[in-house]
Structure formats: structure tokens, C-alpha cells
Symmetry: C2
Subunit: 334 residues, 2 copies
């Protein structure tokens, strides 16, 4: 197995990426790991980490795609960026997977336009895994496709199901659709139509899921259009962040509270893990012909390590082949 | 001024509603207050509260619309329900406002089908006021209209603006639209089209607002379709609820944490107010010909009191007349 790791464009810089990658390689059987980015910088980090592994290669890239770049334009113009170079290697079959914590838009565009979609997959979807209170939920589409058809929602469900089987080791993952009420018939036209298609499918479809249950539900996969998914995920992130910051501030606002804060510190820290994206590290762009994983922009080495482990499992378990065969089952061969 | 208060269908029962109503009447100039519901029960509560006010009347209603009832059907069939009877009185001009903590669907249906819409208003919208960390935000549509046009979004903006002027005492409230990124061009087709219309309007439109900023932004009004609005509001509610419960649980899980919890109790309590719907108590259904306010199902007397106060201000400040004249300005007279 050969995997490509993008060391560019992450909020915390290349060091955390390289460190996480090196740690993952120690834990998983990876024949070759290619670190894409600034050669000088990567060499320096590897020497800081005292890594001497002939199976870790460096792919020098001179251009950086920024978050502010228009994604489709950037991947056409910045040919020497890590995202473009790695995507091309994937496309040419020279590697098995690519993980990046850089611009989401660029990874999405490169995944679709360079790596390419699985036959019959209309659009690739961005996934996110929410740890939750009881059990984790894979949410897709998390923001790749703003305007979608009911049919495309069923494709998200099929792809999410294939991924959930591997990630959660379940035979028949529970699939639900994001809506404004739990009963059938609640929702906008898109949801109502998609509900019917999902119900008629052979998936383990369990119905609507309300946004208020996002941290406390037993669905394995939650499907939605990319606009609604993004609203959901960003409000989870925003509310959790705002509340935890406010709590911190309040606990520092008096002498009495400060003493109390010392005593409850560990417990409050454990609350954070419920929302800790680092647990799953990264999530796949589902629907591409090869594994493309996207980590959070602010990933640290733990998140990168876990993300690479997820990707290796994803590749070893042939998730893409499974999606491909499900698509063929549904739509027939080209 | 004569206002109608629905004492039926609230989660905590009639007592909290009657208590809140009586308290509001002491604070605001209300000529007549009509309590709609079970006469025996209301009489009992009034005597418990030792209220003897000849300007508080009782309107006996024998039927209850439940949350599980199909709203449009229920308001046609349950003629002796508080929602239907009060809406008819409003329509006939026998009262100035109606507030209910019962079935949202029924209040919406009655507001639209019985009370009726302001001329040129395509659809009435449900509003919610989120207190937030910095300043409150009026969100609409909060779930009344699942599939909307860009034009309707601009109507929400006009109506929300008229309400914000009164609620926040501002001359030119800041209006934003819910989207997946802050820059123009981000979002689904609906948002992109509505953005153009809002930008071309004479409203103080400040652009897109991301869901992650929902508790920490300086917009006065946030517009969106009812599906996205509902996802946003329920995820705010759900995440906040899940997190605060989890914190409580964690703080009770060890002896050390319990002592700490005692010391930080007041501070944690103050965090809750950031999300406390009771501060504004209730929010209007915007677009109806008369004031129709909807309180949270689990409202206590404080929420009811504040809700009635908001409604009295809404009526005294002629918000409906302002919306009506803005609609005429925009679309001309019938």
C-alpha cells in the first residue's frame, strides 16, 4: 500500500502533519508513505523527529492552494501544488489513497475533477463523523453539494452505508435522513421524495432524524443535502465552541469559581471529547475512484494519525469496490 | 387593548400560563385579558393565586388540539378549541392579540387560515429570538415554510426588520442570510438568488451569516427558509441541552467534582441564560393581520409573562401596520 499525505495548507503547519503521519506508519502496514510539500521543511521536521525510514518519501511541491483560492480555478492553475500532484498520482494508479488537511474546496474539486467519480455516482459527497454521546454518526453530505436531487440523497445513503460497515463493523448500519420532525411527511419536498426512495431501497432505513438529536441518536449514517448538512455541522461546532468558551470565562470570573474550576477541570475536559473531531481524524470524500480523505484544517498530530489509520482501513476493506458494486447493482453496468 | 391568552396545550399545564398572564397584566396596560381554556380549571387557578380582577375574563373551550393532531384538520374540526375560538375573535376584530404555548402547527394554521395574512404577504413566518453571547438575533423562518422562493426570503427580511426595530429599538437593524460561508456566492441556489434581491433592497443587508456564529454575531435579523431555520434552531437547542446535561452528569460523577460543582454552580447557571428562550418569552408569527405570538411548549410563568409583554409592545408599536405599509411600498396597493 502506498499513501500520499499532504503536509501543506493545514492551520497548524507541516510539523503536526508529518508527526502524525510518522506515528501512523508505525502502527499500520504501509509500504510507502509519500509526504507532499516543501522538501526542505519536511526534511527538517523528519530530522527533528529523528525519523530515518527509507519507506517515507518526499514529493516536493512549490505551490500552495490557499483557503481563499477559488478551488476549481486553483487546481487548474496551481499544477505544482500538493493537492494537484497527489490527485494526479492517485488517478494514474501510482498510489492507493490521499489525505489532506488543506483547502476543503480544493480537495473536493481535485477529487472530482482529477481523481474522478465511481461509475454511476452522480456527485461525490463530503462526510464528517460526529462522535456523539451514545454512538458516532457519519453525516453526509457535509457541504460538497448545495443543490441535490432525491436520487442523489439515496446515493449518499448507499455510500455512507458502505463506509459505516467498515468504520463501525456493522452488517446493516442504520440510515436516517435529516428532517424537521420524526414522522414521515415532515420536511421539505426534497426530504419527502428522498424518504420514499430510501424506504423502497434495501438499506436499513430508519426514518427521519431531527437536528436536536444530533449528539444523542443511534443512527450510523445521516443523509442530507450539503447545505443543510453544513448548517447542522457548523451549528454543532459553533454552539459547542461558544458554550465551552463561555463556561471557561465564567469559571475564571471569581475566586470561588476558580477553585471550583480546578476541581472539575478533568471532568469538563472529558465533555470535549464528545465533540472531538480528532477521534476519527479525517473522513472520506465518498464517490471518488480512489480513497481521498479530508482532515479538519486545525488537525494536530493525533488527528492526522487517526485519519491515516481510518484511511488505511478504508482501503484494506475495499469500501470503494463495495460502493462500485452497489452502484452497478442499482443502475446496471455502463 | 384586549388580548387573548391560550391556557391549553402547554407542556407544564395551565397553572404556569395563568400565573404568567396575571403577572404581565400587572406590569402592562392591558384593558381586557381573556384566558381561554377550561373554565373550572382557570377559576381554580385564579382563586389559588388570589386574583380578583374584573378585567380578566374566561373564555371556556371544551376541545384541546394536541401536538399529534394534524394542524389544518384540527382547526377545521375542533371548533371549540382555544386556538380556533381565539383566532376567530381576532379575525372579527374583537381582540388585538393572541398568544399560545400550544401546538405550533395549529397556531400557524389558524394564524394563516383564520386570522389571515397581510395583503401581499405570500406566507407567514415563524420567528424565534436567540439571546446569544453578544446580542440577540431574530431568526425567521423558524419552520413554518419548508419550500420557499427567493422573493419570499426578502419578505421575511422586511417583516423581521419591522419587528427588530421595535424589539431592539434600532433604526436600521442589520439583516443577514443563513449560508455556508461568509462570502457572496456561497450557498445553495435559493440563498444566492435571495442574496441578490436583499442586496438590491433598501434594507440594511450585511450579507451571509454562517451557522457557527449563531450564538456570537451582531446581526439583528437572520433570514432563511423554514427547513434550514428549523435545522439550525433545533441543533442549537439539542447541542446546548446535550452538553449541559453531560456536564451535570460528569460533575456528579466523583466526590472531588461534586465539591467543585458546588463552587461553580452559580456560574454554570448563568451560562444557561445565553440560551434561555424565556428571556423573550414568545415570538410572533409574522405576516398575519393581527398579533399572533407563539411561546415555547415548555414555557413557565416567567416566559409567559415576558411573552405577553413582548406582544403588548408589538401591538403598541404598530408592527403590523409598518409591515403592511412596507408591502404596499414594494408591491403597490391591490
Amino acid at each position: 500500500m502506498k499513501i500520499l499525505v499532504d503536509t501543506m495548507g493545514a492551520d497548524k503547519g507541516s510539523y503536526e502533519i508529518v508527526k502524525g503521519a510518522v506515528e501512523a506508519k508505525k502502527l499500520k502496514k504501509i509500504d510507502k508513505m509519500v509526504l507532499a510539500g516543501d522538501e526542505e521543511e519536511i526534511k527538517k521536521i523528519l530530522s527533528q523527529l529523528a525519523v530515518d525510514d527509507k519507506d517515507i518519501e518526499i514529493l516536493h511541491c512549490s505551490e500552495l492552494i490557499e483557503n481563499s483560492d477559488e478551488p476549481a480555478l486553483a487546481i487548474r492553475r496551481k499544477k505544482d501544488s500538493s493537492v494537484v500532484k497527489c490527485s494526479k498520482l492517485l488517478k494514474e494508479g501510482q498510489a492507493d489513497g490521499f489525505i489532506s488537511c488543506g483547502s476543503t474546496g480544493a480537495v473536493l474539486a481535485a477529487g472530482t475533477l482529477i481523481v474522478g467519480r465511481i461509475d454511476k455516482v452522480e456527485r461525490a459527497a463530503l462526510t464528517v463523523v460526529i462522535p456523539g454521546l451514545k454512538s458516532p454518526t457519519i453525516v453526509l453530505d457535509a457541504g460538497a453539494n448545495m443543490d441535490v436531487s432525491p436520487e442523489l440523497i439515496t446515493q449518499f445513503a448507499i455510500m455512507g452505508c458502505s463506509y459505516a460497515k467498515v468504520l463501525f463493523s456493522k452488517q446493516a448500519p442504520k440510515i436516517s435522513i435529516l428532517s424537521v420532525g420524526s414522522e414521515e411527511g415532515k420536511g421539505n419536498n426534497l426530504v419527502k421524495e428522498a424518504y420514499k426512495l430510501l424506504e423502497a431501497s434495501d438499506l436499513n432505513f430508519v426514518g427521519n432524524l431531527e437536528a436536536r438529536e444530533i449528539l444523542d441518536n443511534d443512527s450510523d449514517v445521516l443523509v442530507c443535502d450539503g447545505f443543510a448538512g453544513n448548517i447542522l455541522l457548523k451549528s454543532v461546532e459553533g454552539v459547542a465552541g461558544s458554550l465551552l468558551n463561555l463556561i471557561k470565562e465564567k469559571l475564571m470570573s471569581s475566586y470561588k469559581a476558580k477553585i471550583g474550576a480546578l476541581l472539575v477541570k478533568d471532568k469538563l475536559k472529558s465533555v470535549k471529547t464528545v465533540l472531538d473531531y480528532r477521534e476519527y481524524g479525517a473522513a472520506p470524500l465518498l464517490g471518488t475512484k480512489k480513497a481521498v480523505f479530508k482532515g479538519h484544517g486545525s488537525s494536530d498530530s493525533l488527528a492526522v494519525k487517526n485519519g491515516i489509520i481510518q484511511m488505511v482501513d478504508f482501503i484494506n476493506n475495499d469500501v470503494i469496490e463495495e460502493i462500485s458494486s452497489k452502484m452497478e447493482e442499482k443502475y446496471g453496468r455502463e
